[in-house]
């Protein structure tokens, strides 16, 4: 003790620690509220006629586009976001968006929501590529945009960025970097729809791809500061979680499976609002290591969109589960051609043209001419081409309509809109 009295400076670290501890304690958030802000799905008005509509969201014919998301805005419009550029991972990739006007039932022009340069400037790090944007309207009025950026390496080197808009996506705050991993903050990606908690905080489903492949739920406060993160799975085989809440306490996380055959969709339920998750297990539906989307129906069933295949992404289906994702019944084949094998360019182009005009409307002949002249490595290798429909994202808007967006042959983002009356016919 004498040596400390003789030289009190030796106790400086302890004094610093005590003061710091006091400051940290004062900043500790209140006890976490794990009740999901769950609202029963809207019931569509009786007597409504069945409606199903499809069209393209994106309009550029020469870009590789991928990983679309969509959000309903308070004024009844929609905003979709995706990434696009000359190739996946290219330095010219931007985060694009487009607004849907319910009055005209048309998507507006593609606009850049975030670029590599704007992200670099905001987060003060060099950025190599951008990806996976998720747009989501929070109950407090903020429209969030979460997206991935990579400074070094492949997607396993991803980090998350967050910005928000309070004017329906016309202007955005400078993105902030979310620190979510102790390993140089690499390997956190986003794909699924956020959930919101009663205390205003955000539950963002994320996944990791560095060494392992596993899913987590990031808990963010209303300003997107990280409060906590909860592991949904661990190991090397599960990613891209989609969280489907059934009440304020119960939810299930459905996940893409990246392991050995049999390839099946993974499910992990939670009965405490996402505070803990049971060990993921294989369901009875095939999953060819591809992303899915899902929403809860008013009777508790789950409506899902996925590639219900053992291999490939040449078929996209709408399915329904009445047992929390264990078993699925096919409702409608949304896209599908052949067995996924490569096809000669001529045959492929004929089928593609019919699909394109069906999706974009007869008025899009000029766009088709432009696009078909550029059928390139996005879908073709030499003179063999393949159909690819993947990365679906689904929401239900406040008016009760269902909206699905997905990547159409790596070339366009396609939007499907239908109502409950249409769904009831299946």
């Amino acid at each position: 003790m004498d040596k400390y009295l003789a030289n009190p400076a030796r106790l400086l670290p302890l004094v610093v620690s005590a003061l710091a501890l006091l400051g940290i304690w004062q900043q500790q958030p209140d006890a976490t509220d794990w009740r999901i802000a769950y609202a029963d799905p809207h019931r569509q008005a009786d007597g409504e006629t069945a409606g199903f509509h499809s069209q393209f969201v994106s309009s550029a014919s020469d870009l590789f586009v991928h990983a679309a998301s969509i959000s309903a805005l308070p004024d009844g419009s929609l905003l979709s976001a995706w990434f696009g550029g000359s190739r996946e991972g290219g330095r010219d990739v931007n985060i694009y968006g487009a607004h849907y006007d319910p009055a005209t039932a048309r998507w507006g022009d593609d606009i850049i929501l975030a670029s590599r340069e704007s992200t670099e400037k905001a987060v003060q790090r060099t950025i190599r590529k951008l990806g996976n944007p998720v747009v989501s309207q929070a109950p407090d009025g903020k429209l969030w945009l979460f997206y991935v950026s990579v400074s070094v390496g492949g997607w396993a080197g991803s980090a998350l960025n967050a910005s928000y808009s309070i004017d329906g996506g016309r202007t955005w705050t400078a993105p902030t970097r979310l620190i979510t991993s102790p390993f140089a903050n690499i390997s956190t990606l986003v794909k699924g729809t956020p959930i919101y908690y009663r205390d205003g905080s955000i539950g963002l489903p994320v996944y990791h791809e560095f060494l392992g492949k596993f899913a987590e739920l990031l808990r963010l406060d209303a300003d997107a500061r990280v409060l906590d993160k909860i592991r949904i799975s661990h190991g090397k085989h599960s990613l891209q979680p989609v969280i489907v809440a059934a009440s304020s306490g119960s939810a299930v996380a459905l996940m893409r499976y990246a392991g050995a055959p049999p390839k099946r969709l993974l499910a992990s339920p939670s009965d405490d609002g996402g505070k803990s998750w049971s060990t993921p297990h294989k369901t009875n539906i095939a999953n060819p290591n591809s992303a899915l989307a899902a929403v809860r129906l008013e009777n508790g069933d789950i409506l899902g969109v996925m590639n219900d295949l053992d291999d490939g992404r040449h078929q996209l289906s709408l399915l329904r589960s009445s047992d929390n994702g264990e078993n699925w019944r096919l409702l409608q084949r949304l896209e599908g051609h052949g067995q996924g094998q490569l096809q000669p360019r001529e045959t492929y182009t004929r089928q593609l043209e019919a699909d394109f005009i069906d999706s974009a409307g007869p008025g899009a002949r000029a766009l088709w001419q432009e696009y078909s002249a550029r059928l390139d490595k996005r879908v073709c290798s030499d003179d063999l081409c393949r159909f690819i429909y993947d990365y679906p994202y689904m929401i239900r808007s406040p008016n009760g309509d269902y909206h699905i967006v997905y990547t159409w042959n790596k070339s366009f983002i396609k939007h499907l809109r239908f109502n409950q009356a249409w769904l009831d016919t299946l």
Partner: protein, 189 residues
Amino acid sequence: MHSQLYAGLFCTLLLFLLLPVGRLGPAARAALLAALGLAVLVPIEGVNLTMRIRAISGDLSVFSVYWLACASAGRFTAISRLAPPRQTRTAALTIAIAALFLYPATLGLSQWDPYRLGYDFYLPMFCAALVGVMIWTGQRFTAMAVSLCLAAYAVRLLESENLWDYLLDPWLAGYAFYRLVKNRTRGTA
């Protein structure tokens, strides 16, 4: 802004320690340090050196920066005053134990994620206790480093909301293991 300045600081220190300064006197070394401090922040076509280094390294922990600062100070004066080898060995051992505890599980090996502890109040309390033990055992270097980590966390000097990011980073962990292996090799040679 403060996280950018912090990144500028650790980039400056890193470069200062990497450059050979053998024939330079203290004044020239100080001038070099100041010049590096400016150079890492000068943008060329909108991108400065700090942005390039930070993109690869991530933000270094406060523990790392304290160590770098002590090592840099050692280029002006006797290093033993701030970071005597025996004390830095203890720091390396502490860091290595923490890294073994944190990284394997955090990278997906288990359902339990020790990184979560960094959002709780328990980890700061543990660190404060560790500071007490380090003072008691005469390990001033580790005590000072951990207390500065706690202080930096209290004011959220970095972008992270997690105390682990103030205490530890993979580069520090790698250096700690290197030091331990090097000491071991020397000890058995």
